[in-house]
């Protein structure tokens, strides 16, 4: 019960019931996070000496000076995998509302979800048969 716990910590700060009340802890965490990051960067800026030199301004990784540009062209197969991820993320999103109602609506709903997943699974079988999933 995060709502109840937050209400006991901030009893008089706000009303913690209802829809918006349940999101007050989320808002509080966002605000605290923003304040924390701002304070750390501000504290850093106030305390540190500032003597920039070209060597210090250089971008570096693991102590090695950069070579060439910071942009690398990726292989197309990453795109296909990202695309597969998008399709199956959309697929999974529909499983959440389905999971909350299928017990009440019965086996017809299970069949409907089966058809939905089955049609998308055809796409996965197609990707597999075309050799897209092989990483060579």
């Amino acid at each position: 019960m995060p709502t109840a716990a937050a209400a006991s910590i901030f009893p008089r700060l706000t009303r913690m019931d209802g829809y918006y009340g349940s999101y007050v802890p989320v808002l509080a965490i966002i605000v605290v996070g923003a304040v924390l990051v701002t304070a750390m960067f501000l504290g850093n800026r106030l305390l540190r000496p500032s003597r920039p030199s070209p060597e210090k301004q250089l971008t570096y990784e693991s102590g090695v000076d950069p070579v060439g540009t910071g942009w690398a062209q990726i292989h197309l197969r990453y795109y296909v995998f990202a695309y597969l991820y998008v399709v199956f993320a959309v697929d999974a999103v529909f499983l959440f509302p389905w999971a909350t109602v299928y017990a009440g609506l019965g086996w017809v709903t299970v069949g409907e979800m089966g058809v939905f997943i089955g049609i998308i699974a055809v796409g996965l079988v197609y990707a597999w048969r075309k050799g897209v999933l092989a990483w060579t």
């Binding site: 999101y23 690398a72 795109y79 399709v87 509302p97 109602v101 197609y126 897209v132």
Partner: protein, 173 residues
């Protein structure tokens, strides 16, 4: 004005402002990153309107997956990191007018369809996963099934396109 109304105005202004930056910035990668702000602010709007499930789906799918896909698509191209002057099209007046008209049509449709509707957000969770599932599997099963065909078509299309490119790319490694 209530806190919720104030937050909604803030989120709306953030969405509109960052959306303008998406189309006006001269760097493509910045454009994609501003899109994260736009979609996130839109998710905040959904959340404040009581559409809890849609809001988190917006974060999960659009911010989490679609923007990643966009960045991958950018990384396939040569080197769009610098300022690109050739990006601004000469049709921007027409484009702005088209966007304005589309926005007007959408606002008209929403106001005509749900103008007088009132939803009590604070009493029950109107936009929860349960109510969404209830609506989908009681009333909107056919569009839901058609969606799977759309996803299948998109998947097959992406594979066909990528394989066509891959076979031509192998000749010049």
């Amino acid at each position: 004005m209530s806190v919720v109304g104030l937050l909604f105005l803030l989120m709306g202004a953030m969405a509109v402002g960052s959306a303008l930056l998406v189309v006006t910035t001269a760097r493509l990668v910045h454009s994609a990153l501003w899109l994260v702000v736009t979609l996130g602010a839109l998710a905040g709007c959904y959340l404040l309107l009581g559409a809890e499930f849609v809001a988190w789906v917006q974060i999960l799918i659009y911010v989490g997956a679609v923007v990643v896909l966009l960045l991958f698509a950018l990384m396939l191209t040569r080197a769009p990191t610098g300022v690109q002057t050739g990006l601004t099209t000469g049709n921007r007046v027409v484009a702005a007018a088209t966007a304005g008209v589309v926005g007007l049509v959408l606002v008209t449709v929403v106001v005509a369809g749900f103008g007088g509707a009132r939803v009590s957000v604070d009493e029950e969770s109107v936009g929860s996963a349960t109510s969404m599932g209830d609506a989908i599997f009681r009333h909107w099963v056919l569009p839901f099934e058609v969606l799977s065909v759309l996803l299948l078509a998109a998947l097959v299309g992406a594979i066909v396109l990528s394989r066509g490119r891959a076979s031509s790319g192998e000749e010049t490694p």
